[in-house]
């Protein structure tokens, strides 16, 4: 391999990329779009159930009963009249999910076994589970006042949490979307590299190149470096604009570099088809769509399915989540990085092999 030749090809490709209006536009628009959407996404998780309450004469009882409620996710707003409560729900004030209007003399009626009527106001769009649970909450309040304990010994909510308790510190939508944005930033470069390589093949400039002192290995090395460089630069720029580069910088840069190598292999493979623009888009899409699954799986709670964990991008996504959300270090993401390294080798080997064979047939 001749370093000077590789550098010359690389310079030529970088110049060609910078002159390609489509990919430059897509790169700029893509990054701008991801950054704007990222900063527009909520950076907090509202975990509380907001309940409106009109309960004349019950202030003391409820004050004691609901003392720990805010910490447990129940936010109660009191209203002086039932009409005010209903109006607030109708106007959507304070994001109330429901309102309870408890009549005067409730305690006396309950103790006398008179079955007073509690009115539960629910907005039309309230989910069924909220409607049922708030109704149950009203009944439970009545049971408590009547002095009837629960018929089973059920432990309190604070005693039964398993795993790390993230109440008040949930992963936000903004954090969940980071791997998706990184993935798409890398994917833009898959398309760009594929289009560049396909252009070389369809125009047969690679054949012209190979009658110069440049050898096939120089050509392949230049394309690999170009793809990795473009993808890595874009991913790092995006992470900087999302203000997460300061968190676990070392592990994050290594992860992004491996991710860039991974997508470079895919770009070379898609580009070696030598198809036209539309062909490249759809050919590359066949690889991109399954690889996008792990990035989207992060949005959903729980562990990913076994087949998702087998996908090449799972390690990339999991490592990014670990570093940026959990503050993971090299030790914590070693497994993900190891899997990513293996997939990088596989992807690059296949990409280079197919491209080499394609060039040889020209």
């Amino acid at each position: 391999m001749n370093g000077r030749v590789v550098w010359a090809i690389l310079k030529k490709d970088l110049w060609a990329f910078s002159r390609d209006r489509l990919w430059m536009t897509l790169t700029v628009i893509g990054i701008a779009f991801y950054v704007i959407v990222y900063w527009l996404l909520p950076d907090t998780v509202d975990e509380s159930l907001k309940l409106g309450l009109h309960a004349p004469g019950l202030e003391d009882v409820l004050g004691t009963a609901l003392a720990g409620a805010p910490e447990q996710g129940l936010a109660v707003t009191t209203f002086s009249t039932e009409e005010a409560l209903a109006s607030a729900l109708e106007a959507g004030d304070g994001d109330l999910v429901a309102g309870l209007a408890i009549p005067e003399g409730f305690i006396a009626d309950v103790r006398a076994g008179a079955r007073p009527v509690v009115t539960l106001y629910v907005p039309g769009e309230a989910p069924a589970e909220v409607r049922d649970a708030i109704g149950g909450f009203a009944s439970e309040l009545a049971f408590a006042i009547a002095g009837t304990p629960p018929p089973a010994d059920v432990p309190g909510l604070t005693e039964v949490v398993v795993g790390r308790d993230r109440a008040g510190d949930q992963v936000t939508l903004r954090e969940s979307f980071r791997p998706i944005f990184v993935f798409f930033a890398l994917m833009i470069e898959v398309f760009a590299l594929a289009a560049l390589v396909a252009g070389e093949i369809s125009r047969r400039t690679v054949v012209a190149l190979l009658v110069t002192p440049a050898r096939l290995v120089d050509f392949l090395a230049a394309k690999t470096i170009l793809g990795t460089l473009l993808a890595f630069a874009e991913a790092v720029l995006l992470m900087a604009l999302l203000d997460v580069l300061g968190v676990g910088t070392g592990p994050l840069l290594v992860t992004l570099l491996l991710g860039s190598v991974l997508v470079t292999g895919i770009g070379l493979l898609a580009g070696s088809s030598g198809k036209d623009f539309l062909g490249i888009i759809f050919y590359a899409m066949a690889f991109v769509l399954p690889l996008a699954v792990p990035a989207f799986a992060v949005l959903f709670p729980g562990t990913a399915a076994a087949w998702v964990r087998m996908l090449p991008t799972y390690g990339l996504v999991n490592a990014i989540v670990g570093i940026t959300t959990e503050g993971a270090g090299f030790g914590d993401i070693a497994g993900d990085l190891a899997a990513l390294v293996v997939w990088c080798f596989v992807s690059l080997a296949i990409g280079l092999l197919v491209l080499r064979r394609k060039v040889a047939t020209l």
Binding site: L22, T25, G113
Partner: protein, 371 residues
Amino acid sequence: MKTSNVLMLLRKDLRLGPRSPLLLYALVLPVLLTLLVRGVFGSLFDPQPRLGIVDLGGSELTVQAEALDGFDVVVLTDADALRRQVEDNDLDGGLVIPPGFDDAVRAGERPGLEFVVGGESLASNRILIAVTTLDLIRRVAGEEPPAEVRIVTIGDEGLAIETRLVPALVMLAVAIAGVMVSAASLIQEKEKRTLDALLVTPVSIFDVLAAKGAMGALLAVLTGVATLLLNGALGPAPIALTFAVLIGAVMMAEIGLLLGIWSKDQNTMFTAWKSGGILILFPAIFYVWPGLPAWIAKLGPTYYFLQPMFALSIEGASLGDVAPQLAVGLLICAALVPAVIAAGRWLEGARGSGAAAAPAVEVEAEELAEV
């Protein structure tokens, strides 16, 4: 413009169309998006509390829990697996019901019940699960609440996110097929210079434009109606609904023709679509978030087929109810016709002078062989 020429060109495009990946994309996209929205994103926007139950004694509690509306209830057989799933946030909470639980509850023995919640579950879900569990146990015990709960519903029942996303799905299906297929088909003729060849025959540029537009519109109607069908949103007036989709399809095909005439190659077309597509698609956003000011949506031309489509399919409106909006949609379609004619004349003249001719194109090996 000669109808026979248009039909001949349309037949040719329909015959060769399946070779185009874009056409395949336009046909497959509505199915893929519908699957994604209905299978994945519905649960993302409106997650339900997930409750796991290990029932060691055939309790009535399990039957009651499974019948709950709004909860995702899973029955497991192994208590350790339940705890593991709760810890991994595959479930929000879990119950392990011991043998003889129902009898003990009814006998007033206050039996113990293992109840766990996941650390990563939302506090609101924990409360919902805890309160609902207590309520269910009371039901099993046969205890009548000492107070009666009267439910008063305020306002209309909201639409599910899957329903609110239907206009966006239809919009994408109609736009991809109408705009992209029309534009790409025309651009390919320019790039391969087959347009020049056509123009030296008795075929006029308007025959070509009409055929390309008809193909895009036809495909857009097909994908638009198919999307509505897949989402179970054909509503009580499917013919009126198809008419609304047709107006949108024609509008999109006209925009596609303008894009195809203007773009010198497919790269330019995609760049323009990625940059300016939002100007066409944005009214669909207002159905996803109905709280946004609706007047902004009315600024988009596509609103005048999306709103009638939404009213007809989701709100059960009649053709008469949506006639004014459809009339505006038709007016927009009519107003675009002179623009397409003028652009067509420009293209015809420019092809003659070579000003709008596509740059030297990349001719593939197969094509060279054919030549």
